[in-house]
């Protein structure tokens, strides 16, 4: 039996890889399908950032709530939202998790603690304070995590929420996924401090910055912060420095990036390759184990796309339902 140097069991490592691979294939496939013109609206891809969602979400269960962003597919998959229902939603089909009424930017599954992707930057921070407050009143040990990018980190809602979470000692984690770009604007230009941890300190919140392409760094830092919040230790901030393989949205020519930047990131900062190299080098997981998962995930995504393409569209009566519980 090989000695396992990781803080996760072999099964957990395989689960982490499967989750990251599912996110990657989901996004790579959407990139291809979007270009064909079959997918309506705006799509913002998470490829490159998989280790952030996965490393964090492995510490959560369905009683824990997350508030996601417009770049939310990875958060959804890592939180356990059904891939077929997500794909159906992105294609605008009635089989989608929001019956085709939300689309890519509003995927939600409250039964999984996924309170919604959100088209408004920074809007999840106040909402997750409410989730934390509800968990505190119930005393169920649940925690809330709000994800936002380096861009939305400059929204007043995020700053107000850090203060509110701090004074009420809420079990809430603020996760900055810093991919270096707010749409096309660099973090160096738009954010006055060098580290979001410094900003959290201004609200009395502990914080830590990790390499968001290193699954194990994210997993360990998130584990400590989440455990602390769950035990009543209060809110904290986690900054994951990561990379975005695609543009802000599909169709973005990305001319604001350096020449060769995406190629460099794919070659040297690909969280899946880095993870695979670590676990196979340690001999805990084999190349064949990973290849099997790759094949299974590819089949899953194929099936999700084919199913979504063939699924029924919403009917005209769906236009006016679900506005109110009762009216």
């Amino acid at each position: 039996m090989t000695n396992n140097p990781f803080p996760l069991s072999r099964d957990e490592l395989l689960t982490a890889y499967r989750t990251m691979r599912t996110i990657r294939d989901f996004e790579e496939r959407l990139h291809v399908e979007f270009a064909k013109g079959d997918i309506p609206g705006f799509v913002h891809l998470y490829a490159g950032e998989e280790a952030c969602a996965t490393g964090i979400m492995m510490h959560l269960t369905d009683i824990d709530r997350i508030a996601s962003t417009h770049r939310g597919h990875g958060h959804c998959i890592a939180k356990g939202v059904d891939v077929h229902e997500m794909m159906g939603e992105i294609y605008g089909k009635v089989t989608g998790c929001c019956r085709g009424k939300g689309g890519s930017m509003h995927i939600a599954d409250l039964s999984k603690g996924m309170m919604g992707a959100n088209g408004i930057l920074g809007a999840g921070a106040p909402l997750i304070c409410g989730a934390g407050l509800a968990a505190k009143f119930r005393g169920d040990g649940g925690v809330g995590l709000t994800f936002f990018g380096d861009g939305a980190a400059n929204q007043g809602t995020v700053l107000e929420s850090m203060n509110l979470a701090a004074i009420w000692n809420l079990p809430v984690i603020f996760v900055v996924e810093n991919n270096g770009y707010a749409e096309s604007t660099s973090v160096e230009y738009a954010t006055a401090v060098d580290s979001y941890v410094d900003r959290a300190a201004g609200f009395g919140l502990p914080g830590v910055t990790v390499d968001g392409t290193d699954f194990f760094a994210v997993y360990e830092a998130a584990g400590e912060i989440i455990k602390r919040a769950r035990e009543g230790g209060g809110p904290a901030l986690l900054e994951c420095k990561t990379v975005r393989f695609f543009g802000h949205f599909e169709g973005d020519a990305q001319t604001y990036k350096a020449k060769g930047e995406n190629d460099h990131n794919r070659a040297h900062r690909d969280c899946l390759k880095l993870f695979g190299a670590r676990v196979t080098a340690a001999g805990v997981v084999s190349e064949a184990d990973l290849a099997l998962i790759d094949r299974e995930v590819a089949a899953l995504i194929d099936d999700a796309v084919e199913t979504a393409k063939g699924a029924p569209l919403p009917g005209a009566r769906d236009l006016t339902t679900d506005v109110y519980v009762a009216y």
Partner: protein, 340 residues
């Protein structure tokens, strides 16, 4: 036996009763207890005008004073509602919606629809509305039309203490987000209010005075103004029916249409600014659906298209008056005609 209590007391009583009935009801807002963390007394204020005074002694930490961060705490109330609580958040003055409107109209109002029917957001946002307090342009507005425009929100504005209690109880039990507008000039007005709990269903207007010649439609402070106008009109032989809409979303079209079909004349009174208001909404609906019953063009009595002024003489001109309502009725009956 009559038990006269004020509009303000009726709201306090509704909150107390619902907090006793349902442990998921919590209250959040700026100074709703008052004195949090300060060296003096807790419950120092009970809200800026004392509406929640005394509830902290009964319900303790289920009332939470908030920092002056409307986006954060209104959003937190909405988030908690999506996670199984029934928060009642006090926004103090509805004018402050500008600071936190995203959480109300892009979040709370849309969860149910945008998540395919799976979400439920039973939050109540209480706020003071209306002019008359010499509080000027940013603390006096009647912003109800901004909320009725948004699908997913319910909008309530009681005109008297009895309705305030029953409508607030309904608002808290309701599974949709409710904007509960309390007219600050009515806080002291008294009515016979039963001690027991009762809920007034949304979407049921109240005919507060029967009449034959003209239908006066209003809500909030414009209802007592319309009743004063109806007294004046009665002296000149014009019989006015007065309808209190009570809830603006949903709105009780049937009662309005039925009344206009009987009277043939409509005057809508709205303290909001005139464009795209409750007044224009009601006038348009009646014109479209009861045109044949109308004996004269519908009239609207509203605030002017200006911010709310400070100087008392100007503010008094701003708020729709009973005299303006009487004049509008005379436009529908003709200058000399006194009865239909």
């Amino acid at each position: 036996m009559a038990r006269m209590i004020s509009y303000k007391q009726a709201i306090n009583e509704a909150l107390d009763l619902e907090m006793r009935r349902d442990p998921t009801v919590i209250l959040l807002g700026e100074d709703i207890v008052g004195g949090a963390g300060a060296p003096g007394e807790m419950d120092a204020w009970g809200g800026v005008l004392g509406v929640t005074k005394g509830l902290h002694a009964k319900h303790g930490n289920r009332l939470m004073d908030t920092p002056l961060s409307e986006s954060a705490y209104i959003g937190a109330a909405i988030g908690a509602a999506a996670c199984g609580m029934r928060p009642v958040a006090e926004l103090m003055f509805l004018d402050f919606m500008g600071v936190c409107f995203d959480q109300i109209f892009n979040q709370a109002a849309k969860f149910k629809y945008m998540f395919g029917g799976k979400a439920k957001t039973p939050v109540v946002i209480r706020a003071m509305v209306g002019a008359g307090f010499r509080a000027a342009a940013q603390h006096s507005q009647m912003l109800t039309p901004l909320f009725t425009h948004i699908p997913g929100l319910k909008v309530v504005c009681p005109s008297n203490a009895y309705d305030a209690k029953g409508l607030l109880i309904q608002a808290i039990r309701d599974d949709d987000p409710v904007i509960f507008c309390e007219h600050k000039a009515l806080y002291g007005s008294e009515a016979d209010v039963p001690e027991e709990s009762y809920a007034i269903p949304f979407g049921e207007a109240n005919i507060v005075r029967d009449g034959r010649d003209v239908t006066l439609v209003g809500y909030g402070l414009t209802v007592p103004r319309a009743l004063t106008a109806a007294d004046t009109l009665a002296r000149s032989g014009v019989s006015a029916e007065v309808i209190d809409l009570r809830t603006l979303s949903p709105i009780d079209w049937d009662t309005v249409i039925e009344s206009v079909e009987n009277t043939g004349r409509l005057v809508v009174i709205d303290e909001a600014n005139p464009r795209c208001s409750i007044a224009t909404d009601v006038a348009a609906y009646v014109a479209q659906n009861a045109f044949g019953a109308l004996k004269a063009a519908p009239q609207m009595v509203t605030a002017p298209h200006t911010p709310v002024p400070f100087s008392p003489v100007l503010e008094d001109l701003y708020i729709p008056s009973a005299d303006a309502i009487v004049a509008a009725v005379h436009k529908t009956t003709g200058p000399v005609k006194s009865a239909a």
